[in-house]
Amino acid sequence: MAENGQPLIKLDGVTKVFFTDEVETHALSGIHLQIDKGEYVSIAGPSGCGKSTLLSILGLLDSPTEGQYFLNGRPVAELPASERARVRNREIGFIFQSFNLIGDLTVFENVELPLTYRGMKSAERRQRVEAALERVGMAHRAKHLPSQLSGGQQQRVAVARAVAGEPLILLADEPTGNLDSRSGEAVMDLLRELHRGGATICMVTHDPRYARHADRSIHVFDGRVVEEQTEMAVTE
């Protein structure tokens, strides 16, 4: 629970409709969702069911067509673009399927990037970046370019980037989708460790093995939440 007793994330009847070439795609239809502080939630569902759309709304990359979104008690569905950028920067950490490290920047600079957008002093940035790289075990590669790393290593750097800013929540969209199973395991272990350390995580994954890491699993089908399971329920 957030300090004031509210859930960290609360979606209320969120729908998302895409209009393309006069075709309406109802990607999300009336989603109600709560995520509490410190929770580890996984989202699963068939391809095209709206998982990424849901995540993009949670991450303020996109805004709902209808419905309310409270982040840490604050309505954020209709914030102006620059305020949304600010929220993304400070309160949300992203981990993407395709790592999305910037090729021209070193590992260190990649992790530093979101901090520079905060106007943080360079000494503090350095300290935070080093700590984050330390946490994911990539400190020794700080000066490397992403292309010099394996996929698993790149994703660990991406995790470092996501946590360096100490966000309220980590959003991960199939973080192991581009990895072999060994590297995938390593990344999942890392997330679990972060969760144990108190991080709130919301992760999209197809893989039931990884979904099991989560406290709670949400199933989405055709833009709707069809089933919520706790860890206990799954293991039974």
Binding site: V87, F94, I102, D173
Partner: protein
């Protein structure tokens, strides 16, 4: 090869937008270059239209330190003794009046000391040219007329040779007709008639004086003689003349230059500068197109990789790409030539009147060959970089990956190309800026008189009808009275010559009571003027008094001098009351009664020079110019001015009536021409450079969409992303500016002699053009930067 060609055409047709953009950019470059090249070729390079033109020389009698100079007729006769040259002939320009053939007409005349046509190796259409007997003093008057005059005024009469024409009121025997192909001296207006120098009284009088240095001299190198030998021999004669006639020749030396060089020298620098400028524009166009091709090359990597995989060798791929670019440049060349036809006409129309041979410039076979070569070279130049870059691709790698990352080498090449465009643009902008400042400075020059609301007209009085001073003075008085009574005319005056009209006269003088040394250069611009001259011209009286009607032929001789003359020759003294003898009309010493402000005599950029004025009745000339100041629009009074002269003497052809403003404007024509063209080229260059920057940045943004999306997803504000693009633009701009400034500082020095009132490294100009260019860079970055902020951060979630 045929397959290559067919493929090239097909490819160009499949991307019509790309093709037209490339063709347009190149056509502008090729067209502009062709225009300037045709002018440089026609004016500077092409041999003069005379037989063995490279053996023709100009013999200059120059005062030490001057570029050019004229000789006296006795000097010319002495120069004829040289063995290394033949057919030495002197000539000078002027005008005469033709009567009895329709309306009286003023003919543009060249007065000669001998057989000019023989020197130039030009045959006559009919009859013969001047023999020695024709040019001797006291010979019967003869004339060679131009073909166009023969057709217009003599009805192309086959029996014209041997007939007579009434020139300056006397019957001249026409001995020959010069064909239309003969045009000498080469000037903007064609000569109507060639006459022996002694045809007019004043000509005969001047031709007898060693000190009257007024004829240009040309000759042909003798068979077997070299220009160096001629220079040595003629130089020695010059030294002998300086010793023998120190009074007139002490400060003079004789120099030899190729005739063509003398004719075009004055324009060489300006035209060369323009050719350089237009070449730079073409270079930028090439860089731009190379950039466009590189961009497209990225999109074509797959196609090329497939070709390579199918066994096309590296040479084969380079050839295919080069064929494509040459086809592009050939199309652009054709369009460019069409543009140049129009451009040349526009440039010729906008040009100052005095560039020799400009009006004969054509887009001829030679120029077309040049344009074709230029197009091919252009195609290879801009095609080379992308072709080689593409051929270095690794076929396997390109086919393997589905995603194509930015090729860092290609990006670097494109950035260097664009920075070079900025550098070259800066160079052109700086040059144009300096020339523009020069023009402004010239326009701001105080000419010393008020040119607004004035009209001027030249009048020349034929010896036959105005044979002596009293007759000339009488006509002069009647003329001024008649002009003064024209309604709308506030005042009327006359002067032997008017400033900046292209006619000027210099006369030696001597200050009473001072020893005369031959080396002393006591020469001053001279004007014989009417009483109201200063007030009508608006020349400020500084001290003393102006002339009045009482300063007539009976009154004591008087003189008005300019401030510079007073300061130079009477430093620390009052010039007024001093006595000065002038080298004309042996009327004894004159008392200086007034000092007036300096006036620009022949050029706006000239330094103030000594000037003097005497009353016209005391020093009458067989020609003078009238000037009237009008109440309102002077142009409305022009017809009345002409009519007044015809009423006074129906045989007197009214001359050209022009405002003095026209002459002042004409004095800036050459610098305006250069500045305008340079600015046009600089503008095109800057536009192309802006386009180039836009292209590179827009392409960069398109390529970095994903990266930008990630940055936005990580919380970058639109300003952060905009800054990303702007920083790149600024880096490109700064690199270009740095290189351009360094280059400009080196190269603008070559402009020095074209500049006035501004140094070649003028910080204001350099600062201003740098700012302008930076503004263009920022403007070019605006759209790509905005597009960058519009990238959807959702792109980060899409795995591809």
């Amino acid at each position: 090869m045929i397959t290559d060609l067919r493929q090239a055409f097909r490819l160009l047709l499949t991307a019509p937008g790309f093709t037209s953009l490339v063709v347009a950019v190149l056509a502008i470059g090729i067209g502009a270059t062709t225009v300037i090249f045709s002018i440089v070729d026609g004016v500077l390079l092409r041999p003069l239209p005379f037989a063995d033109a490279e053996r023709l020389i100009a013999i200059q009698s120059v005062t030490r330190g001057d570029d050019d100079g004229t000789a006296s007729v006795p000097d010319v006769i002495d120069l004829k003794a040289a063995r290394t040259v033949q057919d030495v002939v002197g000539y000078t320009g002027g005008s005469v009046i033709l009567t009895g053939r329709g309306e009286a007409a003023t003919l543009l005349t060249t007065f000669v000391t001998g057989d000019l046509m023989a020197t130039l190796g030009a045959p006559l259409l009919r009859g013969r040219s001047f023999a020695d007997a024709d040019v001797r003093p006291g010979a019967a008057p003869t004339a060679v007329i131009a073909e166009h005059l023969w057709r217009e005024r003599f009805g192309a009469d086959a029996a014209v040779v041997g007939g007579t024409a009434t020139i300056e009121g006397q019957a001249c025997t026409i001995i020959g007709v010069a064909p239309e192909t003969f045009d000498f001296p080469i000037q903007s207006k064609r000569v109507d008639v060639w006459l022996p120098i002694a045809t007019t009284q004043i000509g005969a009088q001047l031709a007898s004086q060693r000190g009257a240095h007024f004829v240009h001299t040309i000759a042909r190198l003798a068979p077997g003689a070299s220009a160096e030998q001629a220079a040595a021999e003629l130089g020695a004669i010059g030294e002998r003349l300086a010793r023998e006639f120190p009074k007139s020749n002490a400060a003079r030396l004789v120099r030899v230059v190729p005739l063509q060089e003398r004719i075009v020298r004055q324009h060489r620098l300006a035209l060369t500068v323009l050719l350089g400028a237009v070449g730079a524009v073409l270079l930028i166009a090439c860089a731009n197109v190379a950039n466009l091709l590189l961009t497209r090359g990225v999109g074509r990597r797959r196609e090329l990789a497939i070709r390579a995989a199918l066994g096309a060798g590296r040479g084969r791929i380079v050839r295919q790409l080069l064929v494509e670019s040459v086809v592009l440049s050939a199309i652009a060349g054709a369009v460019g030539v069409l543009l140049s036809l129009w451009g040349l006409a526009a440039v010729v129309a906008a040009s100052p009147v005095d560039i020799p041979r400009l009006h004969d410039v054509r887009i001829d076979r030679g120029v077309l060959a040049f344009a074709a070569l230029l197009s091919a070279a252009t195609g290879i130049a801009f095609g080379m970089i992308p072709a080689f870059q593409a051929s270095r691709l690794d076929a396997g790698e390109t086919l393997k990956g589905t995603t194509i990352a930015a090729d860092p080498r290609g990006v670097r090449t494109r950035q260097i190309l664009v920075a070079s465009e900025v550098a070259i643009s800066l160079l052109l902008l700086a040059g144009a800026g300096l020339l523009g400042r020069t023009l402004l400075n010239l326009q701001r020059v105080d000419v010393g008189f008020a040119a607004e609301r004035t009209l001027a007209m030249e009048i020349s009085l034929p010896d036959t009808r105005y044979p002596n001073d009293p007759a000339r003075i009488a006509f002069y008085r009647r003329t001024i009275d008649a002009l003064r009574s024209i309604p709308g005319v506030r005042s009327a005056a006359a002067g032997s010559t008017l400033p900046l009209t292209g006619n000027d006269m210099g006369i030696g003088f001597r200050v009473e009571g001072r020893p005369v040394r031959d080396e002393d250069h006591t020469n001053a611009a001279y004007h014989a003027v009417s009483p109201d001259y200063f007030s009508t011209m608006g020349i400020r009286l500084v001290r003393g008094r102006a002339f009045t009607a009482r300063d007539d032929e009976q009154a004591p001789p008087v003189l008005v001098v300019s401030e510079t003359l007073a300061r130079t020759y009477f430093p620390g003294e009052d010039a007024i009351g001093k006595r000065v003898t002038i080298g004309y009309h042996n009327s004894g010493p004159r008392e200086v009664i007034g000092v007036v402000a300096d006036v620009k005599e022949s050029e706006l950029s000239e330094k103030a020079q000594p000037e003097m004025y005497a009353p016209f009745p005391q020093t009458p000339w067989p020609f003078f110019s009238v000037v009237v100041r009008t109440e309102r629009d002077p142009a409305a009074r022009a017809a009345a001015l002409r009519a007044a002269i015809v009423r006074l003497d129906p045989e007197q052809p009214p001359g050209d009536v022009q405002t003095l403003t026209h002459y002042v404007r004409l004095a800036t024509a050459q610098p305006r021409f250069t500045a305008t063209l340079a600015s046009a080229f600089a503008a095109i260059a800057t536009l192309l450079a802006g386009l180039g920057i836009y292209g590179v940045l827009a392409y960069g943004v398109a390529q970095r969409r994903r990266e930008i999306g990630i940055r936005l997803a990580l919380g970058a504000q639109p300003g952060d992303v905009r800054r990303l693009v702007m920083t790149q633009a600024a880096a490109l701009g700064a690199a270009g500016l740095g290189a351009g400034l360094a280059g400009a500082l080196l190269l603008t020095r070559a402009l020095s002699s074209l500049l006035f009132g501004v140094t070649a490294s003028d910080p204001t100009t350099f600062g201003a053009v740098s700012l302008l260019l930076m503004a263009v860079v920022v403007a070019a970055a605006y759209l790509p930067a905005r597009r960058a902020t519009r990238v959807d951060p959702m792109i980060a979630l899409r795995a591809d």
